[in-house]
């Protein structure tokens, strides 16, 4: 396989300090507060240190320790007793703000972590997709997080803090995105060999576009139109892709966990945010996933040229 087809698939990661939603914004405010305050305290300590080192450079040590003890009392006790409760109080206020339960109009989404990809479900509309979370701009979103195997952690830095996906537990994460855009989501808890490549895309759309997108995902992708696509569907089934991957009305999947492919062609990336979703990458991925992402659960596929072309045509029809 070739490694040249490695364009940047996912968007660049956002910064904690460049928030696009109210949760991350209030944490960013807290962060700046602590950076500035902490920076000043650090600077003052270094200044005191330098002064202490230069003091009495040519004279005998001082015997009266009253001043020195007063310094310990002020700098070691009084100042921390003022600063630390302030940090705690501010953190508590921010913490209560961002952990408020979601309001009734919030959008519910379920995310299940797998080594090394994300299953995304919209329970209200029955949509199942993978590695791509679409949300409406300006509406609270509540993610129900769980894991099917090991511990993962879902993080979109400019949107909110991270929450772990722990097997046997259901964690929730609420957030809201105020600026339309595409954001990089990452796995933040080491989850095995391809932890680094376990990413997803968070797409924030205006409400109407979001509803349109959701509607498109709700419909089955339809039957293949051309002979090539029909041949591709047969390859899909014959090569046992369908044993693991679900395509609505075509295959049930379920032998091993794998992303639902019903609307594969509508996605921006494949391989959990690693590769741009285009024909070349798709071909490379199908033939040699282990070469591109060693340790991933998908086995290599030995397909002839015609079979591959048909399969690609079929997959690209899964809008």
């Amino acid at each position: 396989m070739s490694t040249e087809a490695l364009p940047v698939a996912a968007p660049a990661p956002g910064s904690v300090l460049d928030p696009v939603g109210p949760d991350a914004a209030s944490i960013a405010g807290l962060t700046w507060f602590m950076i500035v305050l902490g920076g000043l305290l650090w600077l003052a300590t270094v200044v005191f240190l330098v002064l202490a080192l230069r003091h009495r450079a040519h004279r005998a040590p001082r015997r009266n320790t009253r001043g020195a003890k007063a310094f310990i009392a002020v700098w070691g006790v009084v100042i921390p007793m003022i600063v630390l409760p302030a940090v705690f109080a501010y953190s508590l206020v921010v913490g209560i703000g961002i952990s408020r339960p979601a309001p009734p109009e919030a959008l519910d989404i379920e995310v299940v972590g797998y080594q090394f990809w994300w299953e995304v479900r919209y329970p209200d509309s029955g949509v199942v997709t993978a590695n791509e979370v679409h949300v409406p701009v300006g509406r609270p979103v509540q993610l129900q997080l769980t894991s099917a195997d090991v511990i993962h952690s879902l993080w979109v830095p400019p949107v909110s803090g991270k929450v772990d996906l722990v097997p046997g537990r259901e964690n929730t994460m609420t957030f809201q995105v105020d600026e339309p855009g595409t954001y990089l989501g990452e796995c933040a808890e080491f989850c095995g060999i391809q932890h680094a490549r376990m990413q997803f895309v968070l797409v924030a759309l205006p409400e109407e576009e979001f509803q349109e997108h959701l509607l498109a995902l709700r419909l089955a992708s339809g039957t293949p139109d051309t002979d090539l696509e029909r041949a591709g569907r047969d390859v899909f089934l014959a090569a046992s892709c369908g044993d693991c991957h679900r395509v609505e009305d075509v295959s049930e999947g379920g032998v091993a966990p794998a992303p639902d492919l019903t609307h594969l062609a509508s996605r921006e990336t494949i391989a959990a945010g690693m590769l741009e979703n285009n024909r070349g990458n798709l071909a490379g991925w199908i033939l040699d996933p282990q070469g591109l992402k060693p340790g991933v659960r998908m086995p290599p596929n030995n397909l002839g040229g015609d079979e591959l072309q048909a399969l690609l045509a079929y997959l690209e029809s899964l809008e």
Binding site: W42, D149, V166
Partner: protein, 634 residues
Amino acid sequence: MTLLQARPGTEDRLAAAWATPRGLAGSLTALNHKQVAQRFLVTAFVFFALGGIQSLFMRWQLGSAESTFLDAQTYNELFTMHGTTMMFLFAVPVGEAFAMYFLPLMLGTRDLPFPRLTAFGYYIYVFGGIFLYASFLFGEVPDGGWFSYVPLTGAEYSPGSSIDFWLLGVTFVEIATIGGAIELVVLILRNRAPGMKISRMPLLSWNVLVTGVSIIFAFPPLVVASVLLELDRTVGTHFYDPATGGDALLWQHLFWFFGHPEVYIVLLPGLGIVSTIVPVLARTRIVGYSLIAVSTVAIGILGFGVWVHHMFTTGLPQLGLAFFSLASLFIPIPSAIQISAWIATLWQGRVVWKTPLLYIVGFIVIFVAGGVTGVMVASVPFDQQAHDSYFVVAHFHYVLIGGMLFPVLAGLYFWLPKITGRMLSERSGKVSFWLTFVGFNLTFFPLHITGLQGMPRRVYTYAEGTGWETTQALSTIGSIVLTTGLLATLGNVISSVRYGERAGDDPWGGETLDWWVSSPPPAYNFRAVPEVAGRSPLWDTRPFQPRYDPSTWQQELLEPPGQVRQVVLTSLLDAVPEEVITLPKQSWWPLLMALFLVLALGGVLVSVYPLSLAGLLGAVCVGIAWTWSREDGS
């Protein structure tokens, strides 16, 4: 003074009693604290070098986006071994080793209280380290991180034996660490020189005392956690399996119940080294001795109440998080007291600009920055952003390298002359400091920014265009500078052993009893055991002329009945001499015990349980023989 001079025959008898038998057998059975502690120190620094080399590989990999220098598996193995090596095989043992060498000297005694335990601790530590590194030979290198979270490290997701190597190797080292801790706690409580009340003992012993007690409480939960995981893996119990009623978070609670005190276990000996060196190089007594001692105890206690701050993102209830956040925010107060006390002491005194002081100044600058970011990550909302990002990597390297490695390097420049009798080069020492200091900050400061820019930890690569390239490249350059600085110190150490200026007994004008004996010290440390009347024995009366109690115990120590090794036990608080005890001189049991335990745990690794049983039986037999034999030469 007459007691200090050898009477005809006595000097020889003392020297003979404390001499190490020659040859390989003598060396393998040696028990003296200085010999074993030297081995500990050298071995710990060898592991430090290994962990450092691993980090250089990782830094090279991360120096550019989409690097193919390392593959994913190798990278994951390297960060696992780097963390495990630095935490278990370097940071904790090096602190214990320092204490094992110098505390008996500072406290005015001849040896550690349980010499066979000293030797056993060393062997089991070395075998644990070899065990871990043997995984490279079998191609089964641990890859689950130093924190080894389940279920990833369970049998289902980590088949093969890489995690078993980790669990068993680490368990060995835990046993060694606990043994060393018991020994040091007893040393500090019962082996101080007569008159060295607990309120007079050197601050380093307060730090080591708290460290030792913390180890005794913190390490057993990790041993238990490891045993449960090994049981899950080998015999199919379900302690950590949520599908069958276990709990994946149980491991995290147990691990961090150990893991956070562990941070202070690593840190406190370093802070003790600082409290020792600052007054000497400021030429004045420490300001706030009691405050520092009390803060040290407070850190030890608070250290046990903050473990959940490693779990702020696991979905625990808000109220619990707030409690642990508050506890974590209190920890900086005792640290701030200590830092203020050191600054106040430097202010009082007239500083002598020697290399150890440079490392201390570097320590304060770095450690305070690590403290600031520590307060930040104790804040729950901020931590939910920073957790498992490069911000945290930057934070704890500031705390651990700043708080522990810099003091250890200061201690090395300060005390190595006592061990070797030769000074390190000042010029080379200063160059090494600046390289280390600048290299350190260049390596780790940019990583704060990388973390805030959204880079998670433990990723073997990252895409182009992420915006992380610049800070990561700077960090890689910094790591090369840092390495150069550390190599300069290594070169300095090696050349000093041969070409260094002779140190004499007391090159720094020291405060504590270690500077009263020759460099290197005689095997028995003190011919007559001095009585101590103040906190700074060598400064209280100059020149130091200790009082001696011409009582029977002192006579007995001076003129032992035959070639036996004797020390005096003193009372817990006031250090009133109570009893003269005779210590073992040499023993095979520690080595044999360690070997049988290797057999026992090795049997678990290869699933040959009769082997384990044989090892256990052997260990029990050795244990019986050990406790029944005095081996004191009487």
